[in-house]
């Protein structure tokens, strides 16, 4: 059992982080939950940390005193990973938000964990560099992105957060500071603990600094918005595009219903809404000719009678990108605004099974009586499926939700998919992970015990 936080504990925390400790009722309601809501619990203490040394001192103390610790960035998670399920201390990293160094010789940028994704992107792009991971939630912190191994739109061509972490500074529960990796490009020096920490959702250590890999900024970017007569036709075209060797950075799919939600959420019209389903492709490159060739190949493929696209619309200027991608970035909020309550499923399936899975969500909607809009990264197999309560009574909703999740996760497993593509396991998806991979979860629990023998770091999450 954990110790209840006492005034003496708080006095210690205040000596480490003077003026940055909030206790009990002083903690705003925002810190009781993450973005999806549903899972709610107030931490006993919220500490805004500023340095690795502060984190180390607080962790060592909590480890000794058996006080649970949860790390929180912007709180934009969707699976309850940053909720203080057992109370205790919440380490708030948002004030550790300095970009420490951009190293053009090693093509790296060194950041503190509270830097926001949008701040990092703007900073490096202003200097002609490119940090490719591009999750929809731009106000998430880099620390959160690393802790969930966030993916995003450009994963098709560039990979996910894991592929861009060169080094980590992390603090173990006993206060030990680890330097993992670094600016080196290659590393075959023993077990790769850095990769073990990436995606561990704050259960193994606290990340206090990251060295991230950068690429040169592609000078030209063009997207194509492609209307199709049906969702089957749209998603059925994705494997053809993958096979065409045109190397899009993103292949997103969306249904008209979601676009209409985004329009009403933003109070702004989308450039096209006449068709039932759309694919959104992006290409990048250095020369206009190279981009033109990629776009033309993809356009001709989609417009062929076998694929049946209704048109291929060109998104080639900042204004056009803003009108299309701006709406795409609000889909989650827009769907949430369209219903009374919702929960989400972020499964990933092999790319050639995406169409089958999306059609199955329609079947699940029919079987459970739930409205289930979806959108997602068709190009990497990662779908965002939303189960919406609307006007359903509480009991029926709980039952339908449980049944909906059961059906969706069973189907994903049957298609050789995984429980989470990029949002993580946190608290909400734990039972689905345990039932799909019992042997792996058992091993994960042993690893967790080695890092955190007193189970003070984010208890009740992932494993």
């Amino acid at each position: 059992m954990y110790k209840t936080v006492t005034p003496e504990d708080c006095a210690y925390f205040k000596s480490i982080a003077p003026g940055r400790v909030w206790v009990g009722d002083e903690i705003a309601e925002d810190y009781h939950h993450d973005e999806l809501g549903g899972i709610t619990r107030a931490p006993d203490v919220r500490i805004q940390v500023l340095s690795t040394e502060e984190v180390s001192a607080i962790l060592a103390y909590c480890n000794r005193e058996r006080i649970p610790v949860v790390v929180r960035g912007s709180g934009t998670g969707l699976v309850g990973a940053a909720v203080a399920l057992e109370g205790g201390v919440m380490l708030d990293t948002t004030a550790m938000n300095r970009i420490l160094e951009l190293d053009p010789d090693n093509l790296t940028v060194t950041v503190e964990p509270g830097v926001l994704l949008m701040e990092l992107a703007a900073y490096v792009e202003g200097k002609g560099f490119f940090y490719p991971p591009d999750p929809g939630e731009k106000s998430a912190t880099i620390g959160g992105n690393i802790s969930t191994n966030a993916g995003g739109m450009r994963a098709v061509k560039y990979g996910v957060t894991r592929d861009y972490v060169r080094g980590l500074t992390a603090v173990l529960p006993d206060g030990t500071v680890l330097e993992l990796g670094g600016k080196v490009v290659k590393n075959s020096s023993g077990y790769d603990l850095k990769h073990l920490l990436i995606g561990s959702e704050g259960t193994l250590a606290v990340i206090t600094r990251a060295v991230l890999k950068l690429l040169p900024l592609p000078s030209r970017v063009v997207s194509l918005l492609i209307p199709f007569p049906s969702i089957e036709a749209a998603i059925g075209t994705v494997p053809e595009i993958v096979r065409s060797k045109t190397a899009p950075t993103a292949i997103e799919f969306m249904e008209r219903e979601t676009i209409l939600f985004a329009e009403s959420y933003l109070g702004k019209k989308f450039p096209d809404r006449a068709s039932p389903a759309y694919l959104l492709l992006t290409f990048d490159g250095e020369s206009a000719e190279e981009l033109e060739r990629q776009c033309e190949t993809a356009a001709k493929l989609c417009l062929s009678p076998e694929r049946g696209a209704l048109d291929v619309l060109i998104v080639d200027t900042k204004e056009r990108r803003d009108s299309v991608w701006g709406a795409r970035g609000t889909f989650l909020e827009a769907i949430r605004a369209s219903t009374t309550e919702m929960d989400e499923c972020d499964v990933v399936v092999p790319r050639d099974r995406v169409a089958e899975f999306v059609l199955y969500t329609h079947e699940v909607a029919r079987l459970t009586g739930l409205r289930i809009p979806s959108f997602g990264h068709a190009g990497d197999g990662n779908l965002h499926v939303y189960l919406c309560r609307d006007e359903m009574p509480e009991d029926a909703w709980k039952e339908a939700l449980a049944e909906g999740f059961r059906l969706l996760y069973t189907k994903a497993a049957a298609l050789a998919g995984q429980v989470s593509g990029e949002h993580g396991i946190g608290y909400a998806k734990r039972k689905y992970l345990a039932s799909q991979h019992p042997a792996q979860v058992s091993l994960m629990r042993k690893i967790k015990a080695v890092f955190d023998p007193h189970n003070i770091l984010n208890p009740g999450k992932v494993v």
Partner: protein, 261 residues
């Protein structure tokens, strides 16, 4: 309804560099695009077209064909480029003179639409001046066309502090305000199909071929100096009480906000 839309090709950049010696815009190596403000006019025209036609008109070098083609991919039926070395170096007066001559040459139309300004020149004068040369009424910064009947158009106009409703007889010229609609996207299908024709007219095609009325020689505006604005990076840091009030007073003193309510 037969509609003409004025368009212009502008540099696709937000930071135009000026040569400090010659004072000329550096356009080399800078990609071009259709003036974003014109897209709102074009979208409005395509919405109003019905059984009629939408034709775009631009003055520029032959490369402006790219901008005209883009308008065609968006849905315009065709376009005309007014291109002649003698049109070069035009100020707003000479530009509007040239566009008016082009409109007369093209023949009948019901309505002319343009963007409220361009992102490179930013004068917002070419549309209204062209209407004056053509002797037709005009309204600038139009937010919405509320009625189109009996040979008249009723529009709501953004006067910054108020909105004015005007009724104009056709033909007339309207400049459309920013963000009044979401412009449709260019279609690859139209591009691959080779839809629409682009014509080029030069001075010899005009009725009025008096060279002194066009280009540099027709421009009373003499540019003395062009220079990039200075960058101010001065920072003021305050600490302590009543920071909101201090900030308000500071901004008011510098006329960034208006005092009194």
């Amino acid at each position: 309804m037969n509609i003409l839309v004025f368009i212009k090709q502008v540099p696709d950049t937000t930071s135009v560099e000026v040569d400090p010696v010659t004072g000329v815009l550096k356009r080399d190596g800078v990609a071009s695009k259709l003036n974003p403000y014109d897209l709102f006019a074009l979208e409005q025209a395509l919405t109003l077209r019905g059984d009629g036609s939408v034709h775009v008109l631009t003055m520029g070098p032959p490369q402006a064909e790219q901008a005209v083609r883009e308008a065609i991919y968006m849905g315009a039926d065709g376009g005309t480029i007014l291109s002649d070395r003698k049109f070069a170096g035009a100020d707003v007066l000479a530009t509007s003179m040239t566009l008016a001559a082009g409109v007369r040459r093209l023949g009948s139309y019901d309505l002319i639409l343009c963007g409220k300004q361009t992102t490179d020149g930013d004068t917002a004068q070419v549309g209204p001046e062209t209407a004056e040369h053509l002797g037709i009424p005009h309204a600038a910064n139009v937010l919405e066309i509320t009625d189109l009947s009996d040979g008249h158009v009723t529009v709501r106009v953004n006067m910054d502090e108020s909105i004015e409703t005007l009724r104009l007889p056709l033909p007339c010229l309207l400049t459309m305000d920013k963000d009044v609609n979401t412009p449709r996207l260019p279609s690859y299908k139209r591009k691959l199909a080779g839809t629409g024709t682009v014509d080029i007219l030069s001075l010899k095609d005009f009725d009025d071929r008096d060279e002194t009325r066009y280009g540099l020689s027709g421009s009373p505006t003499q540019v003395e100096r062009v220079f990039p604005p200075e960058n101010h990076t001065e920072q003021v840091v305050w600490d302590g009480e009543h920071l909101g009030e201090r900030l308000y007073d500071y901004l008011k003193e510098r006329k960034f906000v208006r005092g009194g309510m």
